[in-house]
Symmetry: C2
Subunit: 150 residues, 2 copies
DNA sequence: ATATTAAATGCAAATCTTTGCAACTAAGAA
DNA sequence: TTCTTAGTTGCAAAGATTTGCATTTAATAT
């Protein structure tokens, strides 16, 4: 069973219809890598399926996210980005708002943050692709974290 | 010294120019409350200063954010929202992606999360208006957190 | 195989957001 | 006060995203 067929099967199992468009979009993001913009997915997927409309990309990525197969990434500036979810290994990112640098965080740290929040609030933050904004070490050392506070 | 004058003073101290537009926008968000969309700020501020252009709202809110006077809120769906920062009491939110319910979190919990991340990664996440997406207790109890996984 | 139906798609219009540039102006210097 | 200059604004165009609706189609039942 191919990579695309597996994903289609999973989609169907979750109660979504499997269409040629969705198959192409899934294959596209599976092969293009992480943190793709809608426009990037669109130009690649349209080559594989001419006539594919960009509104379908928007709606499909939203559906795939609701299905838990695609993660969202808000990079602090610029458009939302999309990544195929790897259910076996949640990962996340710290994004520096001064220099745009991105630090990866792993399942363990994410797990501890989820627990800390759940213990106090009974709220379960989504461990998949957790993204936090702040100041990286280099920018903090350089005093850029203070942003010209007199 | 009025509320608006105080804010203008702070803006100037941080190296930004004080313009009538910025004064009006600051007053507007100070009086309208939290989590405002650009369009909401625009329609109110334009009443106070006719001719004010919406591109100025976008650029000003971005500047005020860089100045640390305005916090951003990504509600998981819909446009970014803006809130006047209260430097004396950082707050944050947990947003349920199933029911849109928003739970507030306080300075203490935020502080512990900041420490936990900093200890392991040397990255300082921004404590102001920290927002995390996930599943609220009610939705989790109702099984909606699992999203139809068979 | 055929019919049924709700979901998904394409299309175009509406809406929202960003950007380049000329004109304007706040802040500081003279 | 006047001059200078870099930051800011308005405007219009470009670009990105959402939405309504007619048409198509995947999934299920007959
Ligand atoms: Zn990632
Ligand atoms: Zn940095
Ligand atoms: Zn808030
Ligand atoms: Zn909920």
């Amino acid at each position: 069973m191919s990579c695309g067929e597996k994903l289609a099967e999973e989609l169907r199992r979750k109660g979504f219809r499997v269409t040629p468009q969705r198959g192409v979009i899934l294959e596209t993001i599976a092969h293009m890598g992480d943190h793709l913009s809608v426009q990037e997915v669109y130009s690649e997927a349209r080559e594989r399926l001419p006539g594919l409309n960009i509104a379908t990309i928007y709606r499909t990525l939203e559906s795939l996210h609701r299905a838990g197969m695609v993660d969202l990434f808000y990079p602090g500036s610029g458009p939302t980005r999309f990544t195929l979810r790897d259910p076996s290994a949640a990962h996340g990112h710290l994004v520096c708002t001064e220099c745009e640098h991105v630090v990866d965080i792993d399942t363990d740290l994410i797990g501890r943050l989820v627990e800390e929040v759940a213990a106090e609030t009974s709220f379960f933050i989504d461990p998949h692709h957790l993204t936090l904004l702040g100041i990286c070490d280099a920018c903090f050392q350089a005093g850029r974290g203070k942003r010209k506070i007199s």
